[in-house]
Every structure is written in C-alpha cells, then in structure tokens.
Amino acid sequence: MDAEAAKLLGAGLAAIGVGMAALGVGNVFGSFLESALRNPAAADGQQGRLFIGFAAAELLGLLAFVVAMILLFVA
C-alpha cells in the first residue's frame, strides 16, 4: 500500500475513537440526568463531579483527534 494512502486510512480509523468518545460523553450526561430526575435536590451538588467525568471522557476523544491530525499533517 502507498504510504500516503495508509496515512489517510489511519486518520480515518482514528475518527472511530472520536465517535467512541461521543458514546462516553453521552453516557456521562445521560446517567447524570437519569439520577438527577430521581433526586433533583441532590443534583446541583454533583455538578463538579459531572464535569470531571465529562472532561475525562472527552479527553480520550480529543486524543483520537490529535492522532488523526498528526497522521495528516505531521507524520
């Protein structure tokens, strides 16, 4: 396979990771809402933890994006 084609394929495959992070972020907010609606009084106190979970899940998707960018523009 041509090296240039392999780079583009790799960048495309890295995009799968971004989609997976979408599942993770959706899960964080979905689970939060699910339990927040059961006990709305306790929900506001957990907002900090919500965003920590969001940041952790999001970071992994952003790393996949970095891999794609490195393949496209650096490697």
């Binding site: 900090g48 920590i52 969001f54 970071l59 952003l62 790393l63 994006f65 970095v66 960018m69 523009f73």
Partner: protein
C-alpha cells in the same frame, strides 16, 4: 484563501505571523509582536474593561456589577466547595486563569473577519495552553512541597493501601500525577482547534456551494449554513465549558496539594 481556490484550507487560520518588529531578536530568537500576542493583549484589555466597569462596591449593585460579581462568586464558590477555607488564598489565580481562557476562547470566535480583521484563537496553540497548564502544575508542586515537605509523596499512596500493594500503586499514581499538565493543556488546545477546523470546513462548504455551477450547490450551502449556526452555538458552549473545566481541574489539583487526601 478558501473562497478563491475552491479548496478548503482549515489550518491557515492557526498561522502565527509577525505583525510588527519582524527583525526584533533576543539571543537569536525572534520576539516579533505576532497576531497571537495581539489577541492576548485584546483579551487582557477586554477583561480589564469588564472588571473595571463592575468593581464599584455599590450597596445596590447595577447590572454590570452583578455580572462581575456573578463571575467572582462562581469561582469563589467552586474553590470553597473543592478546597475549603484554605482555598480562599488561591481564588485570584484561578479566577485570572478562568477569565483569560474564557475571554480568549470567546474573542477567537468573534466574526471580526467581516470588517477585514483576522480573528485568532489564542487558546488554539499548545504553547499557550501548555504554559498555563505548567503554571498550574508548578503551583501544585510548590504548594505541596512547601506545606507538607516530603510527606507530599503520601499523595501517591491511597488510604488503607499497605505493603507490596503500595509499592505497586505508587508508580502508577506518580505517572498519572505527572501526566496532569499534558492532559490539562492538551484538552483545551484540541477542543478549541477542533471547533475552529469544523467551523472553517463548514464555512468552506457554504462558499463553495454558492460558487458552484450545479443546481445542487445553493441547497448544500443553505443546509451547511443552518448546521453552522448550530455548531457556532455549540462552540460558544464549548468555549465556556473548557474554561470551567480548566479552572475546576486546577482547583482539584490545588486541593490535592493543600489537603493531601
């Protein structure tokens, strides 16, 4: 330019170019006044104007003072919740960090290209966000060692872990601790970069659609433009969330240094 060639070039917007002092040098390194420096200066000017307009100490606050107090109160309550009373000392640092990132993110989103200026998102460069992250990390190290001395290393052994398990956990916790500045800087940089690339690509679709000869072109343009309005709103949300997450994680890391566990 995307408009003339018809090919979308999403990376061009991140180019750092000297505006003045192209030949200024210190020890062989260029110290020209770049567009990045200009937009940082604009961010500082905007923060300064915003704060000066609201720091009036009126007994019955006006709208502007309420806006400023909303921001300071937000950061103060976040620090109180995460660190406790000992965190009051570090509110000014985290507040400055939050305001600078928020203003830099939002100013990078401004459509000033309409009047001929070139917008530039300062936080879309790892050099800027990395230095901010290293500043936070250096503060955590300095406070941790100043307050607890070598007892600070107990941070890497969770409560109730003993013997061989502690020996195994220590390097893992140490590596995860050392990765913090990278994840902190990288998150902000990539989130802003990705958002701006996405908007540039969509804007390229709109322009190329209008310029194309096919009847389908304007339809694509209209659909892309509708999507772009939504994406722009999402990017405004991301700009605020990333500033909040940076401040939140900094406060959590400071909590580790101040209270250990």
């Amino acid at each position: 330019m995307a408009a003339e060639s018809g090919k979308i070039d999403p990376m061009h917007q991140f180019l750092v170019e000297p505006l003045a002092g192209r030949h200024w040098e210190i020890a062989g390194q260029s110290v020209a006044f770049t567009n990045s420096a200009l937009w940082m200066a604009v961010s500082f000017a905007a923060i300064w104007l915003f704060m000066m307009g609201g720091m009036k100490r009126a007994l019955v606050p006006g709208r502007w003072q309420m806006a400023v107090e909303g921001f300071t109160g937000f950061i103060t309550s976040m620090m109180d919740a995460n660190i406790g009373p000992a965190g009051r000392k570090y509110v000014p640092y985290v507040f400055s960090l939050f305001m600078f990132i928020l203003f830099a993110n939002l100013l990078g989103m401004l459509p000033v290209a309409l009047v001929g200026a070139h917008p530039f998102a300062v936080t879309s460069h790892l050099t800027i966000t990395g230095v901010l992250a290293l500043a936070s990390f250096a503060m955590v190290l300095a406070i941790g060692f100043a307050k607890h001395g070598f007892h600070f290393f107990s941070l890497f052994v969770p409560h109730g872990v003993k013997g061989p398990m502690a020996a195994a956990i220590f390097p893992i916790e140490l590596i995860s601790f050392l990765m913090r500045p990278f994840s902190l800087g990288l998150r902000l940089f990539v989130a802003i970069t990705a958002g701006h690339i996405l908007m540039e690509v969509l804007a390229g679709f709109v322009i190329n659609g209008i310029n194309s000869e096919m009847w389908l072109g304007p339809v694509v343009s209209l659909l892309s433009f509708t999507l772009m309005i939504g994406i722009t709103l999402l990017e405004l949300l991301v700009a605020a969330i990333q500033a909040y997450v940076f401040a939140l994680l900094t406060s959590l890391y400071l909590n580790d240094a101040i209270n250990l566990h």
